[in-house]
Assembly symmetry: C3
Homo-oligomer: 350 residues x 3
């Protein structure tokens, strides 16, 4: 295609659009089918280091893209150019950069974007692979796992220009999309078993890396904290709506599952150039990747979306809530007889 | 299809069949290709809490569907209705319910089936997704992992009405099927390193959940105990038979492998609406899911079916035996020269 | 096909070729498309037990096929016969054998190949499944995980006779291939936290198995040692070259990722009879399997290939380096503005 052979001097003629990033689980406004040809999509992200509360009594120095864990979802189309301005404010204590799994060369951009506190860099790269992909900070050596397990990761969705296709190859359109970023934390404890707090990210680094070497997180959460997406923050949808879930885990395997629902479609590894799988109860996220799954809701009520290691979901925090409005469908499920005491002898005759 | 638009009042006219459930690794009698249209398949399951021996010296309170770990495999066809009577005997100490990953809405049925000791409930739901799916108890909060890691999980197989298809899309018929339910246990130890016993499930709950938070099981077993499917209980098949293996793991990833064999066909996530993969040495089971794999045996002898983390298989218990009768095929494998002492110098000339 | 029905007496007429095995990450010289019909491919492997240094200060008794961890990659075509001479030198302290995941029957050959120190055995088996598959030592019982986590594993590639196909079903030819064998080690420590050394493999067995029961490795490495494939040993390629990566992990899940690159093609489970997936950021290796992925390099520079649990990659050792020569492509990526101090106020107007 024409976009494949575009050379550098042509880029100056491409239209430019600014993408306004929003905090997850929301996603930026976007067209599912691209209007017109390739564009330069301008985005701006700013690093922010800040004390967060992962769970009551469990504080940590979060390192973030734009202040959220995960960082915002970016959305472009295949063949578009991402032009990223990356700012590290003076208030930061560490240098940061970004490695886009969707990009080609220079360690995904990490080799060209390391910015010290008070510095800014601009990187342009072309999105040639359709799918959903992780991005994360990768400043080198032990700083890499340290920054990633402190929250510095997000995802980009590179849509095919003509949109998604279902398992039969027919165009697939979703009604809404959510971005779920899963984060594993490895928070050090003191002698009494209480989580420790530190005066700066660097101060806690050695302790945190020591805990992390055991490979067992103290917390696994969506949106930066246990229960972040529940109550008033619960996801919302309606019966009949098709919802696209983008799920990233930059460091560990995850097993997304929607209690009471399914993945009608699941793009393995998040690749939109492959035929999606169907009818999945759990859709796997290999460590260091983002995937996509779509479901049309058929029943109203509360749904719980979790990683289906139920210990991680319930005891470590990897669960969120979703409220779906609409009319109950008795054909799909009915309580024929409510719980009531029974005659054990009669039951044995069944 | 007609089954998709069936409304509630039509259901009363559907034929009813009772399915007699059997203990795993056996599976209930069933047709691979459905005879006639959709049916209401009546099943009855009863909860049973009982002291089990996971390994010599390692007792635990098992919580079960129908007394077995895993619970029995249910088999229906796509478009059938499952009508489940679920009984919690007076002898139980806890409330239980069931969440079917194959069902739609109400937390997979969990929201409509919580029964206290002495109570019974009847739930009907429609099987709209073809594949193999986990079911498990999910009474809410920390009770969810507690019941699941105590054994309360099983699987249902929803066959396409016209049966399975191979990787070329041609009808595929198996000669026999086995259901392998893998269970991770997290049994607490006392100060001397011996496994503790408790007077009731509730008594051991806090300790067990504390162990489970470390995410490393003390045991990983098939059919509820180390070595449960060996010796007289080993699986049996004949050369030339095609065997379908249904493998579930409700809480953790698993890596089934058949030593000396393969998965000729492997349905990812257990989805029968997708083209199966072929020639798999290990077929992955994402946490919280059931998958299916089929193999035609070509050689007689002992096979070991295990989860191919060999530490888990050999040291934690995730292995079973299978004896296959028939005629050895020298073309596939021959011992050309039996082990014998050799001349090291000559060998170096090879 | 004719090769499928070949009977034992025909084999004597087949051409014989000797395959010269080489140390990983290199692969033996081979044709991608087979020349002529099925062959008998003669290989010789010798066990070697030797003290290795997994990381500075971390010595272990490596048990190996041909002296390397992993053992050498074997390459044949579907329908070929592998005729393996397996020698256990007198200097060995233990009996060893080999289980080929690609073989059919007799526990993958393990049941026919157990050789005591000073013995040799010859096994012939037919490669009927195309793909990449693990082989490993499996002497029975607790010796199985002990030998495998001591390094006794490798892989075989069984190419389709007409070579590989891409995602569109078109012939796919690679320019070079590398074999990456990932090894998890579970090295015991003394009271001071230093890694222990032992006088023989058997002497350290109980300690190592005890560590391994915790399922958390002390090291995860490529080619037997932390940093083995860096510096002068880094992989090399050129822009425009298509590189096939074969990645095996005989005991644990792995998450290969190429920083700055992708898997253009990824054969799930390593099966060459299935359509490969495309555009994968991470390509999953289920425990106990080998997979294959191919990438055409588009940018020069340093690439890091790792398992994308970044803790495992950076702190436990699962990373290697690759140097790619060629011309930088500004269209794919350009640093528009080098890092420089910025005006925070202006940035907020973006
Ligand atoms: Cu950073
Ligand atoms: Cu990365
Ligand atoms: Cu229960
Ligand atoms: Cu579940
Ligand atoms: Cu060995
Ligand atoms: Cu094996
Ligand atoms: Mg992805
Ligand atoms: Mg649906
Ligand atoms: Mg009954
Ligand atoms: Mg399933
Ligand atoms: Mg076969
Ligand atoms: Mg030799
Ligand atoms: Mg393989
Ligand atoms: Mg490419
Ligand atoms: Mg801005």
């Amino acid at each position: 295609a024409a976009t494949q052979v575009a050379v550098a001097q042509d880029i100056s003629k491409l239209p430019r659009v600014k993408q306004k990033l929003v905090a997850p689980p929301n996603v930026p406004a976007h067209d599912q089918v691209a209007k017109g040809g390739p564009k330069i999509v301008e985005i701006h992200m700013e690093f922010e280091e800040k004390l967060i509360e992962v769970a009551p009594g469990a504080k940590a120095w979060g390192m973030t893209f734009n202040g959220s864990i995960p960082g915002p979802l970016i959305i472009v189309h295949e063949g578009d150019y991402v032009e990223l301005t990356l700012s590290n404010p003076k208030s930061s204590t560490l240098a940061h950069n970004v490695d886009f799994h969707a990009a080609t060369g220079a360690l995904g951009g990490a080799g060209l974007t390391l910015v010290q506190p008070g510095e800014e860099v601009v990187l342009r790269w072309k999105a040639v692979k359709p799918g959903v992909f992780v991005y994360h900070c990768a400043p080198g050596g032990t700083m890499i796992p340290f920054h990633v397990i402190s929250g510095m990761n997000g995802a980009i969705m590179v849509l095919p220009r003509d949109g998604l296709k279902d398992a039969k190859g027919k165009p697939y359109t979703y009604d809404k999309a959510f971005y779920i970023g899963e984060q594993d934390f490895y928070l050090p404890k003191d002698d009494k078993g209480n989580f420790k707090t530190y005066g700066s990210p660097a101060e806690g680094m050695a302790d945190m890396l020591e805990v992390s070497k055991g490979l067992i997180p103290t917390h696994v959460v969506f949106n930066g904290a246990v229960g972040a997406i529940t109550g008033d923050n619960a996801l919302k949808a309606k019966v009949g709506e098709k919802v696209l879930f983008i799920h990233s885990q930059a460091n560990r395997a995850s097993y997304p599952h929607l209690i009471g629902g399914h993945a009608d479609l699941y793009w393995v590894g998040g690749s939109f150039s492959d035929t999606p799988l169907t009818s999945q109860e759990t859709w796997f996220v290999p460590a260091g990747s983002a995937v996509a799954a779509a479901y049309e809701f058929h029943q109203p009520g509360l749904y719980v979306y979790l990683s289906h290691n139920l210990i991680e979901a319930v005891l470590l925090g990897a669960a969120l809530h979703m409220n779906v409005e609409g009319k109950w469908n008795d054909d799909l499920m009915t309580q024929i007889k409510a719980p009531a005491s029974f005659d054990a002898k009669a039951a044995m005759d069944h």
